[in-house]
């Protein structure tokens, strides 16, 4: 199956339904192709299915958490090139440093305005 469009594909992994919906709507309104998962396992499955240009990843997830997903993304050579942006409710500096150290391209702290999220996605895709 080939991609029907030239659209950039963003994969969102977020367990809070309201926040997931907000991100999905915003990205869709901005013209991105959006895939969403509520668990780490499911998110990785979708990433392996291919097509994702960017991953937006929450850290605190039920079961396999964001840290584990990030590590797996960077370990798996097929997935390592997909830029990962962390989207977390933890503002702790060590967390941010750890995530960037593990290969995340950016670390966003909730709450976040629609504008900030937009800019960040563009920046991440440009890098």
């Amino acid at each position: 199956m080939t991609l029907q469009s030239e659209k950039i594909n963003v994969l969102v992994i977020e367990d809070e339904p309201d926040i997931q919906t907000f991100v999905v709507w915003l990205l869709a309104l901005e013209g991105y192709e959006v895939g969403a998962a509520s668990t780490g396992e499911h998110g990785l499955e979708m990433a392996r299915a291919g097509g994702a240009n960017l991953m937006l990843l929450d850290l605190r997830l039920p079961g396999r958490d964001g840290w584990s997903v990030l590590a797996e993304m960077k370990r798996d050579t097929k997935l390592a090139d997909i830029p990962v942006v962390i989207f977390s409710a933890s503002a702790a500096v060590p967390q941010k440093e750890k995530a960037l150290g593990m290969g995340a391209v950016d670390y966003l702290v909730k709450p976040l305005s629609a504008e900030k999220l937009r800019k960040c996605i563009k920046r991440a895709l440009a890098s």
Binding site: D18, L26, S90, P111, S113, A114, E115
Partner: protein, 616 residues
């Protein structure tokens, strides 16, 4: 002696008779008529005989006098020897009964002078200082400043030293038979003459090869110290030296004992000595204090296991066995019951005590009250949990705030491109997030009130059945996909409760039950009476709680970080709040659970006895 005197008397009277006879003979030579005896004056044989007899008798007399003198000297010698012997006996008695060294030496000197009949005696010690002073310790008898004039040291060699120092240095006695003529005594002789010391002898005081000093004895007559008397005095000085050594040993021993006792009682750790069965035989002051007793009497004879809580006895027994096998066991922690019933955490290390043959003889333990350490550890733990709580609260605040910020900026930026359904959804999300925030803040406020002791109930007469039914009805709306069943009493007694708070408890238990259950399983709320209580239970068929965790689940701070990682939403504050609310109603709360089968949470409220059974 008497016999000798009698003999002398006899021979003297014989001599006198003969002399008389001779005189008479002389007279008869002149006038023969005056005597009635007819003797021939020309009998030269007779004259020779008489003269011979006289000279014989004179010789005998001389011999007898010599003999008498000899006997007298012997008698005197015996008398002196006897005195020396009595001195020795008396001194031995003193040595045996002596309590301290200076009293011993004083008494010895007094006895030598008093019983021995010597003019003067003193004892000096060679002191181990820079000057090597030979210091006089005690003296008795005629002294008159003599010792002050000596100023002795034991530096240098024995030649030319005072006899006392010479005896000390050589280890042999030193005899001056005549202070006037003995060249060795020349330096001190004038002073000695003044004091009337005609002869002297110094004996070394040596014990176990250690030189202590010397005993010096003075006599008024020259050559006063005969050989056998000296031997007795040597024996005497050996006994004195031995006496000093024994006393010094005893003093050193006592000092060591006192020092040990002082150390024993001044350590802040409790020291307990027990026999191999754990029966306490001795303790120091700190141990008495740690164990919570007033005096040692209360503890001695008790088993160490009596002091430890029943829960820890097996552990203590095990550690005692290990001590006996390995020689020591360190850092065991127990809880201990004081006589007033209070519980104290202690740390105890035990070592084996052995008799001189190396056989186990007892056990010594060092005990420390670790209440403060435990407290400090608890504070640290609380501090850590508070930090965790803060970061958890921050996380919990950010999640609803993320909804509010996200949807409001979405509405602002894209209002023209969002259909009414999406707009309405956005507003609902904002609304829900605001409610979540309010609830979170309420929880935190309740907890801080709880912590500050400001938690107050607003109790009113309440129709409990209605309260439960309303609460469950709302939950059914909240969880339309879950099966919530209800098994209530027909008649509820009148209850005086804070209805809002009780609803909070039921809500919380229901929320948990739903959260941890699959959608197709039932959550059941029951109410029943029993034991003067109204018992409410909420059961689920969810994943259950491991047994080791169930006793902690009502603790607010319980392993918050672990709970958070497993349970991403919610602070886990709910159950601790439920507990606080129920307990404020003088009720109780508990849980029963089986992993994989589900959990039941109970809370029981006491029924008002006066109004019990009355319907509202």
């Amino acid at each position: 002696m008497e016999q000798i005197l009698k003999n002398k008397e006899k021979s003297t009277s014989e001599l006198l008779t003969l002399l008389k006879l001779a005189t008479e003979l002389d007279i008869t030579e002149g006038s023969q008529k005056q005597t009635g005896v007819q003797l021939s004056i020309n009998d030269t044989d007779l004259r020779e005989l008489v003269e011979g007899q006289i000279s014989k008798l004179l010789q005998n007399n001389e011999n007898l006098e010599l003999e008498i003198k000899k006997r007298k000297r012997m008698a005197e010698h015996l008398f002196k020897l006897n005195k020396a012997f009595r001195t020795l006996c008396q001194c031995n008695k003193i040595v045996t009964h002596a309590g301290d060294e200076s009293a011993l030496l004083n008494e010895i000197c007094r006895t030598i002078v008093g019983v021995g009949g010597y003019r003067f005696a003193w004892i000096g010690f060679g002191i181990n200082n820079n000057k090597k002073t030979f210091r006089r310790e005690v003296h008795a008898g005629y002294e008159e400043g003599y010792l002050d004039s000596l100023d002795l040291t034991w530096a240098g060699n024995p030649m030319g030293q005072h006899p006392a120092v010479a005896a000390f240095l050589t280890g042999n006695y030193c005899l001056i038979n005549n202070t006037l003529t003995d060249i060795d005594y020349a330096p001190w002789h004038s002073r000695a003459l003044q004091s009337g010391y005609a002869s002297l002898i110094a004996f070394p005081l040596v014990t176990n090869g250690q030189r202590l000093g010397a005993l010096t004895i003075y006599a008024t007559e020259p050559g006063a110290f005969a050989k056998d008397e000296i031997e007795l005095l040597i024996e005497l000085s050996n006994d004195i030296a031995h006496g000093i050594a024994v006393l010094r040993d005893r003093t050193a021993h006592r000092k060591t004992e006192e020092k040990l006792k002082l150390m024993f009682d001044s350590v802040t750790d409790g020291i307990t000595v027990m026999d191999l069965n754990g029966i306490i035989t001795d303790t120091n002051d700190s141990a008495i204090q740690i164990y919570g007793y007033d005096s040692k009497d209360g503890i001695l004879g008790k088993s160490v296991f009596e002091l430890i809580t029943a829960d820890d006895c097996d552990k203590a027994m095990e550690n005692l066995k290990k001590t006996l096998v390995e020689g020591r066991f360190e850092g065991a922690e127990y809880t201990m019951v004081k006589p007033d019933g209070s519980i104290v955490p202690i740390e105890q290390s035990t070592s084996i005590l052995r008799d001189p043959d190396g056989n186990p003889d007892g056990i010594i333990s060092v005990t420390r009250d670790i209440t403060e350490r435990k407290k400090a550890h608890q504070y640290e733990e609380m501090d850590r949990l508070k930090t965790n709580l803060l970061s958890a609260v921050s996380h919990e605040l950010r999640t609803p705030l993320a909804s509010i910020k996200g949807y409001s900026t979405l509405l602002l930026d894209y209002s023209d491109r969002l259909d009414s359904e999406k707009q309405s959804h956005s507003l609902t999300c904002i609304d829900n997030a605001t409610d979540n925030l309010t609830e979170l803040i309420d929880h935190l406020l309740d907890l801080s009130r709880l912590e500050a002791g400001l938690f107050r109930l607003d109790k009113r007469p309440t129709e409990f059945g209605g309260l439960l039914r309303d609460t469950i009805a709302e939950a059914k709306v909240r969880y339309p996909d879950n099966r919530i069943e209800i098994r209530l009493l027909k008649d509820f007694p009148a209850m005086l409760v804070d209805g809002r708070r009780i609803r909070q408890v039921v809500d919380n238990l229901l929320d948990n039950a739903v959260k941890y259950s699959q959608k197709d399983t039932a959550v059941t709320v029951r109410a029943k009476r029993g034991g003067g209580e109204l018992i409410i239970s909420v059961s689920d068929q969810g994943r259950g709680i491991p047994a080791e965790e169930i006793e902690y689940i009502f603790d607010r701070m319980y392993r918050l970080e672990e709970r958070l990682s497993e349970n991403p939403s919610g602070l886990g504050l709910g159950l601790s709040l439920c507990k606080a609310i129920v307990e404020a109603h003088r009720g109780r709360i508990w849980a029963e659970s089986k992993v994989g089968k589900g959990s039941t949470f109970y809370f029981a409220l006491p029924l008002d006895k006066k109004k019990a059974g009355k319907k509202l």
